[in-house]
Symmetry: C2
């Protein structure tokens, strides 16, 4: 990890050598999340050397990875940044962009974090890797580890949907279904790291995960012709994605590639809005029940809330909330008007854009990006809630077809 | 479509002007499937001009598409060709490759066909577009059409799984669930084209779909450094994918880019093997019931069987069959050893490679490619059949974790 110069605690600001600390600040404990720092002056004059690499590894010089063998072979990142003409016209937003992370190998944004996390684990010689998750973090970890032959042990609450457990088992992960909540699963994964030394991939505990997430910002910047957009809307559950988006632009700024930051807008489900309240009050609310069908951002204890609030405040952005109904509507509009089929959390940033647009707070010419973070096939029940039409039953005869066409709005061509 | 010079009937060899014929040979009827031909001598000296386009549109010069506005905006094609080191070592196949088409926008190979089909429909000013399908063809058509704002009308048998219908509805497709079989749905879609002029996307009826499918071969050739591999294994249901793979290499040959063809190996499920029998006997068997859990290649009447048999015979390849058990095993090995989670049909080509390998008919140094054609998230029930391990239930206490680790094979790091 020679690219990394130090790990800086977001609470006390103390810097640690990467060889001395694996996870959080020894002085501040688990809350002392560490920022990964590089020799930015050495990087400032450089063109990214991986220009012909079409994955997040094009940014290897500013990632905590050195050797080629540590780079997992699956193609993670360098996902499309779409300029959706139909949506632009419908909404009157002439510089709207959609960053489609549904086409990553395990169909979510989290592959970015897992790819870098696994590379670091290999560099450190750490195995197995463990995490607690009901969803995208676990499946991406299991998939990336499968490509490298690394053992994975996942803790999920027993309520985890069968589809997600099946996907983990297919990748060869060891899966513990914990008779309890997500927080019980989280605690056990932390205990496992303490007791057995298993390398821990949990969000905002392992400092290197954010480094994978930040690559989405480097890509957006490059795909816009090395320009920073005006606003980026990001779905927020525990806050680590928006923290990663901030880190990417912050690294560009430190490298002298830009002198401005995009306004980062965090979008939460109304039923799971702890980070929004922390942004408003400066204090994280006591753990509350959370209820939203956007399961990937349904989080009672957001462990990266400080990074999320920093990202929003330092960039002049804001936190907003949207209802489940608004999320479902956004899923439908996104699929019907752009051809991107997202899971509920994946459409939440776009739901935020629709809300800002309705409120009249979006300039029609400003460049606005929505992160689309997970594929719709991950949650068919969620999608069923977003369908606005139904299939029509038909007898297998031409007459029935003619009748249906006469009655319906189907046109003759 | 000025790139296209003529449409040539695979039965009578007669050539038709593209402006005169929409679907099949007027003399031979529905069986007279048409090959799309180009001015190969004009193309022979050219470097593909789309070298900096990272989608199938890099081959636009040899596709039936002209104007930029006809090109759907979703990023279809230019999927990874993996050199899976772990699988290579395990199997002793030093030049094994996996072409991962699960990362297309709607998560299947069929996006290639739909992208080109929709572009042609736009060039012709044809709308709506219809097709009969229970699966990937329909979802890809609906997704690509959504990105272009084109109306889609899909006929599915009433037994179609809910997940697939939900995905179609999300993309805004009109869906008819036909009270009958797939063949009833197919017939109704053909009637709809005849009665109402809806543009028909059905496989091996519309000549341009194969042109999209052929792009996988152009990509493999380029990704191997403009070299033709020794063997390509392709899943076969109705036979149109392997027909497309053949067409891609045939076009390269006609352009003078290569003088050899890869041996094409078609792999069918034992329970749905009509094309294999047609290859053996020269005659398509009477329609038989088909039974395989690989639903995407479960086909009673394979409508592109002639193209499939031609592809195999002209390249010195073969047709082989694999059992559902072998397909399930292949899904597991693929996921665990390479990190690619495929649907059953998506792992069928790889199952064929495993079978050839066991039979000792594969040279360990020959370059062998498996097409992986669809994502595992499309069929969680199918994946559940392929799981070889189970999740372990755990009480939410450290002592239970310690106990489980002592009993299991989980290691201390």
């Amino acid at each position: 990890m020679s690219h990394v110069t130090s790990l800086s605690c977001i609470l006390c600001g103390r810097e640690h050598a990467p060889s001395q600390v694996l996870y959080t600040c020894p002085s501040c404990g688990p809350d002392g999340v560490l920022d990964v720092l590089y020799d930015y002056s050495a990087l400032s004059g450089k063109v990214f050397p991986g220009k012909d690499v079409f994955s997040l590894w094009r940014y290897k010089d500013i990632l905590p990875v050195e050797a080629e063998r540590e780079v997992p072979p699956l193609r993670v990142g360098w996902t499309p940044l779409y300029a959706p003409q139909r949506l632009r016209a419908t909404l009157g937003l002439s510089a709207l962009f959609l960053k489609d992370d549904t086409v990553n190998p395990t169909a979510s944004f989290k592959d970015r974090a897992s790819a870098v996390g696994v590379a670091v684990a290999m560099a450190l010689g750490k195995e197995p890797i463990t995490c607690a998750s009901t969803g995208n973090a676990a499946s991406s970890l299991a998939g990336i580890c499968a490509s490298q032959g690394i053992e994975t042990i996942i803790f999920v609450p027993e309520t985890a949907p069968r589809a997600k457990v099946v996907q983990l088992l297919m990748f060869g992960a060891r899966v513990f279904t914990v008779k309890g909540t997500y927080d019980d699963a989280f605690d056990l994964s932390m205990e496992a790291t303490r007791l057995f030394g298993w390398y821990n991939r949990n969000t905002s505990y392992n400092p290197y995960l954010l480094e994978g997430k930040k690559t989405v910002s480097l890509e957006i910047w490059e795909q816009l012709g090395e320009k920073v957009p005006d606003r980026i809307y990001v779905p927020v559950g525990d806050g680590c994605i928006i923290g990663g988006v901030w880190k990417g632009f912050e690294d560009l700024r430190r490298m002298g590639r830009t002198d401005r930051m995009p306004a980062l807008v965090g979008v939460q489900a109304e039923g799971s809005s702890a980070v929004t309240r922390a942004w408003e009050t400066g204090v994280l609310p006591e753990k509350t029940d959370c209820s939203t069908f956007a399961d990937s951002i349904s989080v009672g204890i957001p462990r990266a809330w400080r990074q999320a609030v920093r990202a929003v405040k330092e960039t002049g952005g804001e936190m907003i909330t949207v209802s489940d109904k608004e999320i479902a509507q956004a899923m439908g509009i996104l699929a019907r008007e752009s051809g991107i089929f997202s899971e509920p959390a994946g459409a939440t940033a776009f739901a935020g854009i629709l809300k800002s647009h309705r409120a009249g707070t979006l300039d029609s010419a400003s460049s606005v990006v929505a992160l689309v973070t997970g594929a719709g096939l991950k949650d068919i029940d969620g999608a069923a809630r977003a369908c606005t039409s139904q299939a029509v039953s038909l007898e297998p005869h031409v007459e029935a077809l003619k009748e249906a066409v006469r009655e319906g709005s189907l046109r003759h061509s």
